[in-house]
Amino acid sequence: MAQTQLAILMASVALIVIGVYSAIFIDNIIKKIIGISFIEEGVNLFIVAIGYKAGGVVPILMPGMDTTWFASNAAYPLPFGLVLTSIVIGASTLAVMLALVMVLYRRYGTLSTKVMLADTSKQEEYNE
């Protein structure tokens, strides 16, 4: 089943590339933030794919299972625990960013990054 892992790695790389591209090149701030959430999803998918074992079982020890068989067949659960934390962190970061965008929209009336996040040092010089 190496094909599955290959496909998943390619999908996660595709998500990361799409995310980085949009975070850098797209002008609309909400789309930038959506792109950032895709980077996070790609990284999460990659880390879960590390723990995956082809033909294995879910790493939950049920009563009546043979322990040695379980140890050699279960997927590696450590990456799954990490990804759980990382998903929640990603969602909270996204929420804070969107809150900042909502405040800034009230001031500028646009979602364009070129207007919103123009170099502030230059803006101060214009004001003088």
């Binding site: 599955t4 496909a7 998943i8 390619m10 999908a11 595709a14 998500l15 799409i18 995310g19 949009s22 797209i26 609309n28 909400i30 789309k31 933030i33 959506i34 792109g35 959430s37 895709f38 999803e41 999460n44 998918l45 879960v48 794919a49 723990g51 995956y52 074992k53 294995g56 079982v57 879910v58 790493p59 939950i60 997927a75 799954f80 990804v83 759980l84 998903i87 929640v88 990603g90 969602a91 996204l94 929420a95 969107l98 965008v101 909502m102 929209y105 646009t110 979602l111």
Partner: protein, 77 residues
């Protein structure tokens, strides 16, 4: 076989979300991508991660984005 389809759905909806002119549609497509990822986690033997991702990725994140879009503007220009 299912995992290939899910990978394709995920990447396609990500790309579609970013080329959408309507930001609300972009938010919904983000939810598609997150939901496909949740099923993919289930296939990768991580049911606990799949549950969290299903809630966060398919419901909470799109709702946050949709709320932000409602408070700001809907079209991308």
């Amino acid at each position: 076989m299912l995992e290939f389809v899910l990978c394709i759905i995920m990447v396609l909806s990500a790309i579609l979300a970013l080329i959408q002119k309507d930001l609300l549609k972009a938010a919904i497509l983000t939810g598609f991508s997150g939901g496909a990822l949740a099923v993919l986690f289930q296939i990768l033997l991580a049911p606990d991660v799949a549950l969290t991702q299903a809630i966060v990725g398919a419901a909470i994140v799109p709702v946050f984005i949709a709320l932000a879009v409602k408070k700001t503007q809907r079209s991308d220009d």
